[in-house]
């Protein structure tokens, strides 16, 4: 059992939830999302984000629009769709329940 792998997988499971949460307070382009996630030490390498965004977009949870940038290439601003918001709400409930039960399990010990 590789400890790094296990850690990575634990993070992976909640990454989508975190991306949706970051976007719940407004539209962002990938670099901004990365900044926020990095602060929270959720993302180690930036490349991780793009396939995830793609998947969320393909599942109809996110949409995006193009916006010109003063420096560099045009940026994709991502936004939650109504379905995405619904999805996020349910995830939040599940997350809170999970945290509760996990905490209980740990503390009982």
């Amino acid at each position: 059992m590789n400890i790094e792998n296990t850690k990575a997988q634990m993070k992976k499971g909640v990454l989508e939830f975190c991306i949706l949460s970051v976007l719940s307070d407004g539209d962002h382009y990938p670099s901004e999302i990365i900044e926020k996630m990095k602060v929270a030490k959720l993302i180690v390498v930036e490349g991780t984000l793009y396939p995830l965004l793609m998947r969320l977009k393909n599942d109809g949870l996110l949409s995006y629009r193009w916006e010109e940038s003063t420096s560099g290439p045009p940026r994709k601003y991502y936004k939650l769709t109504p379905v995405g918001e619904q999805f996020l709400k349910e995830l939040e409930i599940t997350w809170n329940e999970l945290v509760d039960s996990v905490n209980k399990t740990i503390i009982k010990k």
Binding site: N5, Q9, E46, G47, L53, M54, G60, G72, P73
Partner: protein, 572 residues
């Protein structure tokens, strides 16, 4: 000192050192190979390239303009190795994902067609295409070399391919060029994969449908169903489009070869029938005599080449591009093609007007031919065909002839055209003698020219005792041009006199009125008497299909007892 390369990443220009460029290129290619689904792969790639461009932009300044290897390495460290972030599509077990990726990488890596300039003879087209389909380029080269002589059509195709297919410049492209075999097996594998993918999505969709039932969700799944149907249709259309493209290329190439053959083969028409006879005829020979004198054949060829050839080439060009999935646009080619085509169009319109002007006026010239009256009241009519004009084989340059199903005759010697066939009518004479009138007609750009053209037609007959021999052709001097020259012969037969039509007259007589409404081809080889109602057959009693005919009194000179056209069907 290091060499730098100019690179365009997400629309931003960078100067990058060669080794750094190779590194970045390899990195992007590796990421690319980790994604299976082509559509999202392109989008993810452009996102990643955009981000890398952004990061690299921070590395350059007015003092440090070039991107170095360490900059690229830093960016790669930031972005992460492909195996660290990509390829986790739905898989939870990281190791398994990695394993599958190494399996899938070679099979899913699309092979692309490039010109192989390392093994080139001319432009590397043959070796590139041979690489793509994985066979020895020598066969393709041989094929092209042979087709160069097929009126240059091979050369044209080669040039088109040369323009369309990009050259393999970088190592990555060279590797892509040699990638996995593209053959039936891998194609069927791709199709199978796609079908599986569809099936999985359908299953997933069904599962999801079954588990949840809220109204809100239904709308969401409605959208999903719509997307599913849309994607399926889209894939279907893509496959059909490829098949149509192959078909179009095929047809266009055939038409192009025909066009080139027609023009560079001097418009040769060559056909051989089973009797061992053959026609070898140059359309250019004929068109010289049709076109106005200020329009040379070469100009017409050029106009046709541009007007028809350019669209054909464009079809081949864009279909091949579509087939190989080449997206690069070549503006020069586009502008050149449009300009050439418009030029061809203008030329064609100009020529059409010029040519139709030449035919705008029609004129007639009437001429009576004196004939000796037959002694025994019967005039025998016979036709004379062109000398040496049984279906002739015409390899030599002197004598050419086209005989089209007995409807049209065209023959040319050095000094004359012989055209056929004149049309003949038989009417009642106002006097008591046989008369022959020849009406010649022709067209020209004005009345004067038309009259001149009509008068220049030579038509001759000969008479031997009671036999009048009519030529089944009329002659035009080769100095004149072909301007719808036509000859109409009117034979006037006095009342109660008899004519005999020989078998050969069949080609000349044209819708001759007669009492029994007999067809022209049944009128020959029989005698006909002129009655006050029109021609009547004398020896038709033996005919099988003559319900129309009326039995006759045996004595020809006496007029029959008023057979009317209305009663003809009931008799017999």
């Amino acid at each position: 000192m290091n060499r730098t390369i100019t690179m365009n990443l997400s629309g931003i220009i960078f100067h990058i050192e060669e080794d750094a460029y190779e590194m970045l290129n390899k990195y992007l290619a590796t990421i690319k190979s980790y994604f299976n689904d082509a559509e999202s792969r392109d989008e993810i790639m452009s996102d990643i390239e955009g981000r890398i461009a952004e990061l690299l932009q921070e590395k350059v300044s007015t003092i440090k303009q070039a991107i170095l290897l360490q900059d690229v390495n830093a960016v790669i460290a930031l972005m992460g190795k492909p195996e660290e972030f990509a390829g986790d599509n739905q898989q939870t077990d990281f190791k398994q994902a990695e394993q599958e990726n190494t399996h899938q990488q070679p099979t899913n890596k699309a092979k692309r067609v490039f010109r192989d300039t390392d093994n080139k003879i001319l432009g590397g087209v043959c070796s590139g295409v041979a690489n793509y389909f994985d066979f020895d380029p020598i066969w393709l080269r041989a094929l092209f070399a042979i087709s160069f002589f097929a009126f240059g059509s091979g050369l044209l195709l080669y040039i088109i391919l040369w323009i369309i297919i990009p050259e393999a410049k970088t190592t990555a492209e060279k590797l892509e060029m040699r990638g996995e075999k593209v053959d039936i097996n891998s194609i069927s594998k791709v199709v199978k994969d796609e079908l599986n993918d569809l099936k999985n999505r359908a299953n997933k969709f069904g599962d999801e449908m079954g588990s949840k039932e809220t109204k809100d969700r239904l709308k969401y799944y409605g959208d999903k169903l719509f997307e599913f149907v849309r994607d399926t249709l889209y894939n279907l259309i893509r496959i059909v489009a490829k098949i149509v493209a192959v078909f179009f290329v095929f047809i266009a190439i055939i038409l192009l070869v025909v066009l080139l053959a027609g023009i560079f083969g001097n418009g040769s028409v060559f056909s051989e029938n089973f009797g061992g006879n053959s026609i070898n005829f140059s359309l250019f020979d004929v068109s010289t005599f049709i076109l106005p004198k200020n329009l040379p054949n070469e100009l017409v060829s050029l106009a046709l080449l541009l007007f028809i050839g350019v669209p054909l080439l464009s079809i081949i060009y864009s279909c091949i591009k579509h087939l190989f999935g080449i997206k690069e646009k070549n503006k020069i080619v586009k502008y050149m093609a449009s300009t050439l085509w418009l030029f061809g169009l203008a030329l064609t319109v100009y020529m059409t007007i010029e040519i139709s002007n030449e035919f705008s006026q029609q004129a007639y010239s009437k001429e009576s031919i004196k004939i000796n009256q037959p002694i025994n009241e019967t005039l025998y009519l016979d036709a004379k065909t062109i000398p040496n004009a049984d279906f002739t084989f015409l390899f030599n340059q002197r004598n050419r002839k086209i005989d089209f199903y007995n409807k049209f005759l065209f023959s040319k010697t050095d000094s004359t055209f012989s055209l056929g066939y004149p049309t003949m009518e038989i009417v009642e004479s106002e006097t008591d003698s046989f008369q022959l009138v020849v009406i010649k007609s022709a067209r020209g750009f004005d009345k004067k020219q038309a009259i001149k053209n009509a008068k220049n037609i030579t038509y001759s007959t000969t008479q031997k005792d009671s036999t009048l021999i009519l030529n089944s052709y009329y002659d035009i001097n080769t100095e004149d041009q072909l301007r719808f020259q036509k000859v109409k012969i009117i034979l006037k037969v006095p009342l109660n006199k008899v004519i005999y039509l020989s078998k050969r007259m069949e080609k000349i007589i044209y819708d001759v009125d007669n009492v029994s409404n007999t067809w022209d081809n049944d009128m020959v080889d029989r005698r006909w008497v002129m009655t006050s109602h029109g021609l009547q057959c004398i020896d038709c009693s033996g005919l099988d299909d003559t319900e129309n005919n009326i039995p006759l009194a045996p004595t020809p000179p006496t007029p029959p007892p008023t057979p009317s056209r209305n009663s003809k069907v009931k008799n017999i």
